[in-house]
């Protein structure tokens, strides 16, 4: 799948700094409506910084971030959520002492409480029957896998056009990892575009259409998932032979 001529999200020459630390270096991404795009890379290469730049917790020092063709880098986080970008945060980051239902409500924070709220709630409960069962329970008491379901459900409650996921498989058992990736594909088939940071490259390349590879803040490779799965450097750096076996 090649990038659509009218991308949903685009980074153009984005640089970000934390003080003197230069993290993203002249980065370009382009994500078309309907895609699942994965961002691969080792520790501390700027993956979470990419997510924070999309959400507005980090501002680019130079460069532009476009959503639906319009620059958003000056918008508040709240305005970005209202326009249709929702995050699934690294390590889930539910509100531990709020109930599962209240966490879902927080996902819909920028929206009016209308009939569509109940519609979206039913959709989340349909995707995750476990979440429905646990709706009155405090989120901090759920297992890691259940928390990840709530985190994804919380993002869906924003009725987003784009979901940005930061390492959705982190800390989950292999069984839950499978489930999470199945859900990601299901959500995508229902029309939501997904930009997903992953360290688990083998899994990510199974569900993603395309991927970027980030190394110390520089995009060193990009292409379709198929191309990247066959790429010799990727196989050596990110995919153990076992993983390649299951991936192809």
């Amino acid at each position: 799948m090649s990038p659509d001529p009218a991308p949903l999200l685009q980074f153009r020459g984005v640089n970000t700094h934390y003080g003197d630390l230069h993290v993203l270096k002249d980065v370009n991404y382009s994500i078309a409506p309907g895609e699942i795009v994965s961002l691969l890379g080792g520790n501390a290469c700027g993956k979470s910084t990419t997510m924070k730049t999309i959400m507005g917790l980090v501002r680019p020092t130079t460069g532009t971030v476009l959503f639906e063709g319009k620059p958003i880098e000056r918008l508040s986080t709240s305005a970005r959520v209202a326009r249709g970008i929702a995050p699934v945060l690294e390590a889930r980051r539910l509100f531990p002492r709020m109930t599962v239902f209240e966490n879902l409500e927080m996902g819909a924070y920028t929206r009016q409480r209308d009939a569509r709220f109940d519609e979206d709630l039913e959709r989340v409960y349909g995707l995750f029957p476990r979440v429905k069962e646990r709706r009155a329970q405090l989120a901090g008491t759920l297992s890691g896998g259940e928390q990840q379901m709530v985190a994804i459900g919380r993002a869906l409650m924003a009725r987003p056009r784009l979901i940005c996921m930061d390492e959705p498989s982190m800390g989950l058992s292999p069984l839950f990892v499978e489930q999470v990736f199945d859900i990601i594909q299901a959500i995508n088939r229902q029309g939501t575009t997904i930009f997903m940071v992953e360290q688990n490259a083998a899994m990510a390349l199974q569900v993603a259409h395309r991927a970027y590879v980030l190394q110390t803040g520089v995009v060193v490779l990009s292409g379709t998932a198929e191309e990247l799965r066959r790429n010799e450097d990727i196989r050596q750096a990110y995919l153990g032979e076992m993983a390649v076996g299951t991936a192809t």
Partner: protein
């Protein structure tokens, strides 16, 4: 009076003091929960609340305990004094946050806390210059109605204080638990970055928190005046310190904890004042605080290792 009557009387007094400390403790706990800041200005926002309530009552022509009102005029006068004290104090709280603390947000170290101490002294000195240091006769238009319970006396003012404090606590609990802004406050207290990512405007949450906590201090100032029939520029320190102790005792950052802590401190103050002497009240209060913190470092209702980023 038998000793049982004396005890009952002190429980009645203690509940009134407790209502006051609870309301004041809530302000410390709310601000701490959201901003991780001990707001020392709170001591004297409370004092300003007492003064504003007094001036409001005086503006209705009430002097000392001479004018007694009943019915609607009584309710209207008291309601107006509560409202004005709460709004003025809420406004002061918002001003402190907006003008002095927001520029310091994200500054590491004690700068924000020191700023609140400075504000506290500014408020103190402004009132000192404007109104003087003498103890003022706080107008109290309540009719002298009282009920006998055995040998103890329950006055109308006590019942009124309980009802108002309870109503404010129920209202606050409803706000925090059920409203959109209240949920945003809880989310921000638990994980500010995640709350922001949900679209919560943290600036508005912080401002609302300062408004609520300072408005409660204003109500508390009015209650203080009604209870003691006096207002004085230095009332903030003793009451504020006990209320702060109540917040820590209950578990700072924990709303029900602040309410419980306030009542516990109020009861200890009244009962120990009666049984072992007023001079010992503070010794017992702070001794208990130390003891509780040794056994439960997070306070009676607090959690250790709050889940914060």
């Amino acid at each position: 009076m038998t000793s049982a009557d004396l005890l009952l009387q002190q429980v009645i007094n203690g509940l009134s003091l407790g209502a006051m400390y609870s309301l004041l403790a809530l302000g410390f706990t709310l601000v701490y929960g959201i901003a991780e800041l001990i707001n020392f200005a709170h001591f004297n926002v409370f004092m300003v609340g007492a003064m504003v309530a007094m001036l409001t009552l005086q503006s209705f022509g009430l002097v000392g305990q001479e004018t007694v009102l009943t019915g609607l005029p009584l309710i209207g006068t008291l309601g107006a004094a509560f409202a004005v004290a709460m709004l003025v104090c809420g406004g002061i709280g918002v001003g402190i946050e907006r003008l002095l603390l927001r520029p310091l947000r994200g500054v590491a170290g004690p700068a924000p806390m020191i700023t609140t101490i400075g504000v506290s002294y500014v408020l103190f000195n402004v009132v000192l210059l404007a109104l003087g240091s003498d103890a003022k006769n706080f107008p109290n238009p309540l009719p002298p109605i009282a009920w006998r319970i055995g040998g103890a006396v329950l006055r109308l003012r006590e019942v009124l204080i309980w009802i108002i404090a309870l109503a404010l606590m129920v209202g606050l609990t409803y706000f925090v638990q059920r409203t959109r802004m209240g949920k945003a406050m809880r989310a921000t207290a638990q994980d500010p970055e995640a709350a922001r990512m949900m679209g919560v405007e943290v600036d508005r949450v912080v401002m609302t928190t300062f408004f609520l906590s300072s408005a409660l201090a204003g109500a508390c100032g009015m209650i203080f005046g009604l209870y003691y029939n006096l207002a004085k520029v230095d009332i903030g320190f003793a009451a504020g310190l006990r209320a702060f102790t109540a917040a820590v005792l209950g578990g700072i950052g924990n709303v029900p904890g602040a309410m419980l802590g306030g009542v516990v401190i109020g009861l200890i103050e009244a009962v120990s004042g009666q049984t072992v002497g007023t001079a010992w009240a503070d010794v017992i209060i702070f001794g208990l605080l130390v003891l509780v913190l040794i056994v439960r470092p997070a306070g009676l209702m607090g959690r250790l290792a709050p889940n914060k980023s």
